[in-house]
């Protein structure tokens, strides 16, 4: 998988590139809009990570021109502007996702995977397996070591989200957005409470704990 990172801030560009390389992607970098556009048009990338405020050509124009040239590579915008209007403008220009700075790298990675999955247009899996835990989306059955686990709708939604991204850390913000559809931060950590409930059902009676807390980053499910 090949990713193009268009970002003029060197430190951000280098930590994004480093993180993506560690995650197994091939990464190219461009530090201005024109170079970014030239590369995006000439090379077959799987996804583009695009800053908005760029020298020479701004990010929105780059995306618009890419779309005009029928280059349909998925694009994630990185922007310091957080208003709803800016987000809508970004998505209208033809980008596929919008991430507000400062962002957590794990969130960028998770969103990137989601985009790649969407653009690869493979058949949606109907079954997820992590270790001895399995989930069937059609029958909505969750089974661990042959034992059926009953889950309430939000618990099911969280587990599905974790299993779909198994091995990857999901931030509380992403869980909040994905499970409830809210983008504000409730003061009491609703996400923590939901995770602890899910743990009680999925992990409590088993030796091997699957749901892991990554302090300061978020939660992930994987076989440890």
């Amino acid at each position: 998988m090949r990713i193009l990172v268009v970002e003029d801030d060197r430190k951000i560009a280098s930590f994004v590139a480093k993180g993506l390389r560690e995650a197994g992607f091939a990464v190219d970098q461009a530090d201005n809009g024109q170079e970014g556009l030239d590369r995006a048009l000439s090379e077959p990338y799987d996804a583009v990570v695009m800053d908005l405020m760029l020298p020479k050509l701004d990010g929105l124009s780059v995306i618009e021109q890419m779309r005009q040239q029928k280059t349909l590579t998925p694009v994630i915008i990185l922007s310091a502007k957080r208003s709803v209007d800016d987000r809508i403008k970004g998505l209208q220009s033809g980008s596929d996702d919008y991430l507000i700075k400062p962002f957590s790298f794990s969130e960028l990675l998770a969103r990137l995977y989601a985009l790649l999955r969407r653009s690869s247009q493979g058949a949606e899996p109907t079954r997820f397996v992590v270790g001895d835990l399995s989930m069937d989306l059609l029958t909505r059955e969750v089974v661990r070591s042959g034992k059926k686990i009953e889950l309430q709708p939000r618990e099911f939604a969280l587990l599905e989200y974790l299993m779909r991204n198994s091995g990857r850390v999901l931030s509380k913000t992403m869980i909040m957005e994905h499970v409830w559809g809210y983008d504000f931060d409730p003061q009491t950590n609703v996400v923590d409470v939901l995770v602890s409930r899910l743990r009680a059902r999925v992990d409590r009676d088993f030796e091997n704990k699957l749901i892991q807390t990554h302090r300061g980053v978020g939660y992930a499910i994987k076989v440890s």
Binding site: V84, Y182, F184, P186, Q187, T188, N189, L194, G216, V217
Partner: protein
């Protein structure tokens, strides 16, 4: 000189207005005069045409039937002054052979021939008493006779001449009046524009936003002045608001930034080792996340307080919204063993920003849960009251001491009881700011040990059928 004037015309709206006024006034007055002149002269031309036609008619009659036929036709004329013609036949020696004219024309000395008639030319016979004129033209008859036909043009020529003279005479005063009128008119009508320009200029030069254009009278330009002043007031409000917001945010960020820096520094100064570093880094990430949330909340509060918050207003069903928020806290309620009751009519709807209103309800519910003890109860009641919708969130938790009640809305204020709970101390400030941004109000009643009641009132719209 001319180019200088043209330049002035191009640049100054007032001069342009005056010139236009002048041009339109002069052109329209002149054209009215000229049109009347043309009509008058064309009626004179008609007279000549009639004479000519009569002459042709008589000449051809003479060629066909001889002079006696002309004499007969002349005698047969009606006595009317309007339709009759003067008909005269002269011989080679200019002696009168035949004369026919209406009897009323006796004041003309038509019998004698004073001037040598010229064939085809126009001649004028003047009446004895007044200035009446007989217009006459002539044609040769075959038998060496000269036929003259004519008609009076009365005083039309004279009118025409007088008219021309008058036009020429009034042109200069008329232009002066136009010039003066144009100048006064332009001066008066651009006066609001001039004060607008002066005000704008002084704002640009001094940067002071508190000046206003003097408002006078009514009309489009004064309307513009009023709108301009309102715009200035709004810009001034926004700028002051933004400046305050910036000051507040900068101030409020210093404390958590100090904490972040402290955490990083402690990590560096402490025992070296991957485990310690990892702990320090985790703390740094957590602290920076808190700073981000704080920053976002502070921006929201400042924007809402200064009226710069963009609200995406839509019709929101309050019952649905409360149901969603209660569902969000369902597990938290279960975990803390707190019961909840909701009373809300399905038909109550309000115009609000859905996401912001969710935030308000979530924060209030969050407080009600946070400062409650296991086994406690929270109730949410919504009722319409005149044109308002009242949301009451009541708990039987720890309550707020009376002396702290006025402070709970302050940014970053945290009561003694709340210090042990996680939070930023921004929740209620944000709630109040958003409620105010929706043109609503919020009030609290609280008693230590009994509980708190928050009452939010928002302007409501009611669903049809209610």
């Amino acid at each position: 000189m001319l180019s200088k004037f043209l330049n002035l015309v191009r640049k100054s709206y007032g001069v342009r207005l005056a010139v236009w006024y002048f041009v339109i006034f002069v052109v329209s007055s002149l054209s009215i005069s000229i049109i009347s002149y043309v009509f008058l002269s064309s009626s004179l031309r008609d007279n000549r045409k009639a004479i000519q036609t009569k002459l042709q008619e008589l000449v051809s009659l003479g060629q066909k039937s001889g002079v006696s036929a002309i004499e007969q036709a002349g005698n047969a004329q009606t006595a009317s002054r309007r339709t009759a013609f003067f008909v005269r036949i002269l011989d080679r020696k200019n002696q009168l052979v035949f004369l026919s004219h209406p009897p009323l024309w006796t004041k003309f000395d038509v019998a004698s021939v004073r001037d040598q008639p010229v064939e085809g030319a126009w001649q004028y016979l003047t009446a004895k008493g007044d200035g009446d004129v007989l217009e006459v033209t002539s044609a040769k008859l075959a038998s060496d006779y000269l036929l003259q036909v004519g008609r009076p043009i009365e005083d039309r020529t004279e009118i025409l001449e007088d008219y021309r003279d008058t036009i020429l005479a009034v042109t200069i005063p008329m232009m002066l009046i136009a010039l003066l009128g144009g100048a006064v008119f332009a001066f008066r009508s651009v006066r609001p524009i001039r004060s607008l320009i002066q005000t704008t200029q002084s704002i640009i030069e001094t940067g002071r936003m508190d000046v206003r254009v003097p408002e006078t009278g009514s009309g489009e330009l004064d309307e513009l002045t009023k709108l301009f002043n309102r715009m200035l007031a709004r810009i001034e409000g926004l700028i002051t608001g933004m400046r305050e917001a910036l000051d507040n945010v900068a101030h409020d960020l210093r404390t958590p930034m100090t904490r972040l820096r402290g955490l990083a520094e402690m990590g560096l100064q402490g025992e070296p080792g991957p485990k310690q570093y990892r702990e320090a880094l985790i703390s740094c990430v957590e602290e920076s996340d808190r700073i981000l949330i704080l920053l976002n909340s502070l921006m929201d509060i400042s924007e809402a307080e200064t009226g710069t918050m963009r609200l995406r207003l839509e019709t929101v069903s309050v019952a649905d919204l409360i149901e969603e928020i209660v569902e969000l806290y369902q597990y938290v309620l279960e975990q803390k063993n707190i019961s909840i009751s909701v009373e809300c009519s399905q038909t109550i709807a309000i115009m609000a920003d859905r996401s912001r209103l969710s935030q308000v309800l979530a924060n209030l519910l969050d407080n009600a849960i946070k400062y409650n003890s296991p086994g406690g109860h929270v109730s949410i009641k919504v009722r319409p009251e005149r044109k308002q919708m009242i949301i009451v969130v009541k708990d039987n938790g720890v309550g707020v001491p009376a002396e702290e009640i006025p402070k709970i809305w302050d940014r970053l204020h945290r009561g003694d009881k709340s210090r042990s709970e996680p939070g930023l101390g921004l929740g209620l400030s944000l709630v109040r700011a958003i409620v105010h941004a929706h043109k609503g109000d919020i009030d609290v009643q609280s008693q230590t040990g009994v509980g708190s009641t928050f009452t939010v009132s928002l302007p409501a719209i009611f669903a049809p059928g209610n």
